[in-house]
Symmetry: D2
Subunit: 352 residues, 4 copies
């Protein structure tokens, strides 16, 4: 199979770098265009402050970064990790020009004709692509992956919701600094400290989770009416968002049944054996002090693609459940989710 | 006024050191006995690994630490920061010998005849002392202060409960390492990491909050029937427990009213102008990113005695409320609460 | 005494904020002008991301920040914590207009007619002010304080140099993130990490130390010919630069004599009892594991003004010495040193 | 080839766990005995607080830990990561009983008949084994690897010493918390802090480096007479010791020559292609801000076996050199160095 050419928008940020890392040696995709704003005109290896302990892939090192010009970009598909302000128009332009855009930006996530998809959870939402195509008379489209914290929450809610129907969720997050990008959180603000506010995050978790768990009805998604409250906090951890989840269900909860449903949960990516699909999307741990960011954020294969869950327990009420989850925010919560989504789009022939 | 002589049990741990710091120059109390297990026989200044940026008070520096012997200890009152396993019997023995014991240990907190008191919240529970005295035929007694996380929670719930009647609480904690004592949490476990479990903590928060908000009925406390769920996590912060609180009330919530009630909240310590009473037990901040442990844990006067609250907001439902609180775990959450309680006991002539 | 009016250039950065904090309630100085670039036009309390646990002083909170205009600024003296690129011309302009400029920027530190002064170490260098005045035919002048790491090094070298004549110094630094300003070091780069390079720092330490220990000869400073090598590293600490110092002297070293000389070291600020002078400029500790940044950075009175030294010991060679020092980088190493210098300038009637 | 059976003494500590990890799947060695003190009698997987993000190897998980009994242990070779107090006698007993003991403990390192070896640096010191055998009339022996900081220093000094003859070294260390074992450094002591003292470390670096660079003369090692001063500091980093090195040489220094000599440096392990030998024992980086612990500690293959060097530069004097090195303290600085040494002993038929 010929590899599909990929344009990566916003290639020098934290998530951009993760895309570069995850696309290195990808069996289907090949990075051909890298855009950057401050870094435009320079070679990737010289312009980028590489943040990982891996080395910059050799074939990307010498590639020249170009300025984003939506009229010129040519590729089989586009990954966008642009800042939201820029993303909105750029992604729209590219999709109208006929390009498939898989975006990690928040700009279009809540647009009723744009699918917001976790490949294991709601692949059927991709039907909205046809709605987009009809509406805009273009083969191109925008598909989005959720906010990093939402990915962990929605993915673990899915098997529970299928069992008992979830009616209320209260989630507290412990979010790593890499979630704020680069340079992101000043060290002066977070050493020996916590910041109990992340701009827009709580609203995103609420709205996006409802959309992901919603159902397609005709040409739009009907959000799931779940009562969700989120309280978000930045913590001095490099990578890996931890979330403490409390929820209430319609039916009575059985902890063993929940753990089994999570452990055996899989979706299309697993059935289709997509290259970036982890064999288990949810890893359930039984120690009383896991998951922990440093120990568990790189679990699974590809590392960081599963969500790790622990401390599953019932509350005092029979229809209440508590658990702790960990999602690698820049892998499963961003670049990894987008790559997996692109793979699914290829298999479903939305990208050809 | 002659100063009352104080015996401090467990004087070399983190909380023991806070007691030493807070009793330094106290107008009513004077440290006369210091006990320690591994440090017994040595001078305090030489035996103790002093953890604060202050210096060890000069008059304590040269004092000899003695082994805990409940038959010999003589003082007007006793502060206990003993480990629970040792505390249980030792505190019982001392109180039967006629000594007033104010304890920061968890052993007797849920005992139905032992008052569990935050001076601003439930001073009326001190009546249980008479029940103890009658039962054990001794002038001595045990009075306890709550677990560090519980102090912050119960103190902020009180004014809300008085307004709207709280029926459900979901709290997620972000707890500092000093809460685990010394040596406590190994650095190897918490740098760039979180540990989502603190042994016994969630149970304590649930049970103690219900008791504190409960009412005296005859010779016992009737716990308040509130549905409480707690999810506790250790974070890489030196001092100051942050808590994200979600709650539901019987009556509809008005945010301004809540903030006013918290800001103007005061109790007996303020009315009696007790030496360790902060002028405002609850400080409400209006920035969207406060409270923060490093910036807010030493607020007020004495520093660390108020609980700092921020981000007060209503949830999607009219009878739901969210806020973030910060309590200095070894001051208001431990030594400071105990000293304030002792001051209240003196004013009420339980200690003479 | 009428208070002298102060213009503070670059008031919203980390060092600018320290100036605001240290000038609060100052007996001689009164903040009258605050400049800022991005914050210009807003009130200080609303524009500034205040980084300390203290509150913004009330009288500064509502003050409007103005854009830096060197033709308009009017004050009895000027403190500059401008970035070096801006500082160079602005400070020159202001001094030519007749204003005394006390600068924390590096731009003019090595200028042969500009005094680079630690008030306790080389107050005699202030004579250069007359050289400036003559050269530029203006009453104004520029006086500078050294780089934060240099302050700690030069201040502790002084009493040793007076005893034994220092001929070689090798210093390794452990520098706090506040030294890089705000936003400064991204947390993503420093959590669970070290960065063994700080742009320009090693050169500054070498050149500035030689100038400070140099002697006035006619109308210029003759640098002290000491062989200095510096190796600088950023560490995940909020405030307080630690330095490991190895040195060789002409005469044989006696540790007790060194500790005595350091402990009893004082200079003009102590003799003149300047308001910001610590009673002891150097505090010598005798524990084997001090100084430590968190415990010792706020030592003394005013807190953070002394340099704290520990582990003074001889090397294998008789004329070698090792010690560890800690300097609060934004207090003694920046704003505090500048305020003390201004006080000295007032006493010497350079500022009237 | 039949795998050699290995007894691992002190298997549950930090270094013990690294041994378990590095011996997993080893082509020549097979773990057969695991000792532990507090963990004796339990299965490894249940007793040990596993500190890494890998999982405990399956074949070790269910193995029972035994109490150390030097009369009973039977294996082809013994790795010791015992605490020094216990190591001294135990290792002596085992070697007299005929067992080859490769020790990471400090007890025997400076014993004149015990080789202290970095396989790439001084393999010829293994001749001392014959001296031991003759002296104690036993086929067994003790061979030791150096202190973690010493490994990084001595390995990088070797190629420089061969070029120019090193006469003086001043080293400042920035040591990770894992170097203190488990539980090791309390988090309360190191968050937002540094501890400028590590018991015995400076003496070890000085004495061990001189021995490693020394030469065999008859039946003993003649230490190299280099003037070494070391200043050690604990920093809030999980793994990876960084060291700032200043040195003076007899001959004039050429930086490019030094970098080449380091980059091309190899020893017997590389020539013999030992299983745990990295292809390059020293990796030289040319960025101005590397090595950094989090980014570089797992460099090479096996990860963590090379020492990473950066910022190689000449001092002001022609015969002075400065550089920064990073050594993974529990891999190349402990377990990895010992495993590599055992491999070398096998190839040289000291272990059969």
């Amino acid at each position: 199979m010929r590899k599909l050419s990929v344009a990566l928008l916003g290639s020098s940020g934290v998530v951009g770098q993760r895309f570069v890392e995850m696309l290195n040696g990808h069996p289907w995709f090949k990075l051909s265009v890298l855009t950057g704003e401050k870094t435009a005109g320079k070679r990737y290896g010289e312009a980028v402050n590489w943040l990982f302990s891996t080395n910059i892939p050799l074939e990307v090192y010498g590639k020249k970064i170009v300025r984003l010009n939506t009229h010129e970009i040519d590729a089989d598909l586009v990954f966008s990790s642009l800042p939201s302000v820029v993303a909105k128009e750029a992604e729209m332009n590219l999709s109208r020009r006929g390009l498939p855009v898989i975006s990690n930006a928040s700009s279009h996530r809540l647009n009723p004709v744009v699918p917001l998809v976790i490949p294991e959870v709601n692949p059927e939402h991709l039907e909205l692509i046809e709605v987009q195509r009809a509406k805009f008379k273009s083969d191109g489209f925008i598909a989005t992956d959720p906010n990093c914290s939402t990915v962990g929450l929605a993915m673990t809610l899915k098997p529970i919701h299928d069992l008992y129907s979830v009616r209320k969720v209260v989630v507290s997050t412990y979010q790593a600094v890499s979630g704020a990008g680069y340079p992101g959180v000043p060290s002066l603000e977070i050493i020996d400290n916590l910041v109990p506010h992340i701009h827009g995050e709580e609203e995103k978790i609420k709205a996006e989770t409802r959309k992901i768990l919603g159902e397609i009805n005709g040409n739009r998604v009907v959000n799931k009416e779940i009562d969700i409250e989120a309280m978000c906090c930045r913590v001095p951890v490099v990578d890996g968002h931890l979330e403490n989840v409390y929820l209430e269900t319609e039916a009575e909860v059985n902890v063993e049944e929940v753990e089994d449903a999570m452990s055996s949960f899989e979706g299309e990516p697993q059935k289709l054996k997509l290259p970036t699909a982890p064999s288990k999307p949810i890893i359930v741990r039984h120690e009383d002090n896991r998951p922990q960011p440093r120990l568990d954020r790189s679990s699974g294969n590809p590392p960081g693609m599963p969500v790790v869950v622990g401390r599953v327990r019932r509350g005092d009420k029979k229809n209440s459940l508590l658990y702790t989850l960990l999602v690698h925010n820049t892998i499963r919560g961003a670049a990894g989710c987008a790559v997996l989504l692109a793979e699914l789009l290829v298999k479903h022939q939305y990208i050809i």
